[in-house]
């Protein structure tokens, strides 16, 4: 299955793009996707656990199962206000 992954702020700078499509095994979770990305991006590998994330623009837990076409974003520490 394919998901759309969005990157913002420090995560965008670390991976060098703001979005991409990723092919994943069916029934992959957010944690599975983070594990794949952590092998590629040193900043991500330094995180002790999965950072806050959103699936289809709602906050989601690491064990959330992903589906074909989902919009996924891992969120660096937010700093609004």
């Amino acid at each position: 299955m394919r998901v759309r992954v969005l990157y913002f702020a420090s995560f965008r700078e670390a991976i060098g793009r703001d979005e991409e499509e990723r092919e994943l095994p069916n029934r992959s979770s957010l944690l599975d996707l983070w594990t794949v990305l952590s092998r590629e991006v040193p900043l991500f590998a330094g995180f002790p656990s999965v950072p806050p994330a959103a699936v289809n623009r709602e906050h989601a837990n690491p064990d959330t199962p992903l589906r074909e076409g989902d919009e996924v974003a891992f969120l660096p520490p937010v700093a609004g206000g």
Partner: protein, 138 residues
């Protein structure tokens, strides 16, 4: 719309707010000239825009249940801001001040913790950092 890339117009925000309610509480966050001992010359706010708008709707919905008498209006700047400019504004109106203060405070606290907005600080020497409010907490 919650996010705006033009300056937050406080006067028109106050005009837009329901004025016959009795109490109006306004919170404005402005760009500070320093952070953690380093001088800041300007900031750039970046947002996951579609999610930020949806998250704000969820916050307003939730606070409308917690404070049924309160009407809320929220605005947040994105893009480059100079020191002293307003980055965020919350207006809470209510028949009574206690609910207006409480809802205003709850709204800004939630904006700071759940809405996907990021802030890059620029320093006089040309360097810049993404602000991480969780640093030292984790």
């Amino acid at each position: 719309m919650f996010l705006t890339d033009s300056p937050i117009d406080l006067a028109s925000l106050l005009l837009e707010a329901r004025s016959s309610d009795g109490a109006l509480c306004l919170f404005v966050g402005v760009v500070r000239d320093q952070n953690e001992g380093r001088v800041t010359t300007s900031l750039r706010y970046e947002a996951y825009e579609e999610m930020a708008e949806e998250e704000i709707e969820r916050i307003v919905e939730r606070l409308s249940r917690d404070f049924p008498s309160v009407h809320l209006m929220l605005r947040h700047r994105v893009g480059r801001l100079s020191v002293g400019e307003a980055s965020v504004a919350v207006v809470a109106t209510s028949p009574h001040r206690a609910e207006a203060f409480a809802a205003c405070r709850a709204a800004i606290d939630r904006i700071k913790t759940t809405v996907p907005i990021w802030k890059k600080e620029f320093h006089p020497d040309g360097s810049s950092d993404w602000v991480d409010p969780t640093r030292g907490v984790r």
